[in-house]
Symmetry: C2
């Protein structure tokens, strides 16, 4: 198997003929860990200019100079999908962030709820994890990670038009696949009587074109996925969420999932049914 | 929030009036970690007799006697879904096992492929992790975990009627949601021209009952999900997989997922579209 050239996220602009010097950790990674030498290829992205091939032109002990050559992929828009996780223990939380980046989120916005296990997170460290996950997963951008905010504040200035998926453990909400593909009202109830499951897709198939028309196009509306802490949300928080105009509640099945599992499951389903897994 | 009584997996039979004595680690967990006392309630399951309430009748330093009282849930059949993971580094592999149990797998059968990072796993330790995850997730059974076997052996005596989902990173396979819900041939190609996405569900809706009939029932066929190691499968292995009569290939989107992420994503989608998340 031929190994693809290593990929690195850089901050500066990328264009043909530019040169840049990597910082020590990245120079160490390329030269010592990956054992690259002058003349070897790498790939670079910065979240704005697409992906570029570059060549090592200067390899000293602690420094590595690169010359940018040609664009290998145009910048994509990516998915407009936020993850709003309640901070849990550090290990599983960092793991959740890594997986969320692999699964294509555009932003990570921690929320402090009543049962949150921590009110602070190390956003610098999370950003390092996010950069590595973006490099590894062939993404063209690194999601923004903001400082934690109280749930009430997040809900108070919630952007209009962005749906907020509330992963509800109470057993009262409809299944997640119904919510993502069916027509739901803002309380998370599936509205359509016929074809609750895959309602919108069914509409696409039975609609103007009738059977034989193409499946419904991917949902281009912005979404966010809210993941509660261990112990879930308080009765008061649940009430406030259910009353919020942008919130749709969904169930993630009959078993109790840990917060990190729930986040990965919900993000995967969103990508598979509404996001860029649909090809 | 009222905390539910702790749940423990036990090996022996459960019926009303039986008494049992816990081993040291479990006695320590209940009495020291959870701080339970004589008279307090716990819940027990053994994978065969459902879930039972029990009461602590004897609490000494290193021992804990329980009296089984009443059945609180009948035994369910569970999903017939295997995970076939290629062993990866210990941390992510144990994590994958924990998540697979939360997501309802009935068996974990590690496969040794050409690029496998390890050929041995500690099945005793994995079983301990699986028991804890089953207790935590409110499952009524603990999945069987067998010793790793070479991929070729697994394929040679593959049980007829069990579909084997091959998570294919080549970009040639159809999206996973199509494969799980559409009609696919054994090479993983979606056969139906109309309504590729959600084909079977559409059949359910447009079939005998026409629009308005109930969605197709959950798929009761046994499935297995094969997850490759870092670096994926070799060209030879890929050829053999694609030629196998039970294998269906599917794509998990445009980004490169780590093996543990891929496993959790595929299991979540299976549960949401074919398994017990459909309510």
């Amino acid at each position: 198997m031929t190994r693809a050239a290593p990929r690195l996220f850089v901050e500066g602009p990328l264009s043909s003929g530019r040169t840049l010097t990597l910082d020590k950790p990245r120079a160490h990674y390329l030269l010592t860990v990956m054992r690259l030498k002058t003349g070897d290829s790498v790939r670079l992205f910065n979240g704005r200019d697409g992906e570029w091939s570059a060549r090592i032109i200067d390899a000293a002990r602690d420094t590595c100079g690169l010359a940018v050559e040609a664009r290998t992929r145009p910048q994509d828009k990516g998915c407009d999908l936020w993850l709003l996780p309640s901070p849990i223990k550090r290990g599983p939380f960092e793991f959740m962030v890594e997986k969320a980046v692999e699964l294509g989120v555009s932003g990570i916005r921690p929320v402090i709820s009543e049962h949150a296990q921590r009110s602070k997170v190390n956003t610098d460290r999370l950003r390092t994890i996010a950069i590595e996950a973006a490099e590894q997963s062939e993404r063209l951008s690194v999601p923004e990670i903001i400082e934690p905010r109280p749930l009430a504040d997040q809900l108070a200035d919630w952007p209009g038009g962005r749906r907020l998926l509330f992963c509800d453990e109470s057993g009262e909400a409809p299944p997640l696949a119904d919510v993502l593909t069916g027509r739901t009202d803002t309380a998370g109830k599936v509205v359509s009587g016929v074809g609750q499951l895959f309602g919108d897709v069914l509409d696409g198939l039975l609609g103007p074109g009738g059977p034989g028309s193409a499946p419904a196009p991917p949902d281009r509306n912005p979404w966010a996925i809210l993941i509660g802490p261990e112990g879930g949300f308080s009765p008061d928080e649940r009430k406030r969420l259910r009353a919020h105009g942008s919130v749709v509640a969904a169930s993630l099945g009959p078993r109790v999932l840990r917060a990190d599992t729930a986040a990965i499951a919900a993000l995967s389903l969103w990508q598979a049914l509404l996001g860029d897994w649909r090809g």
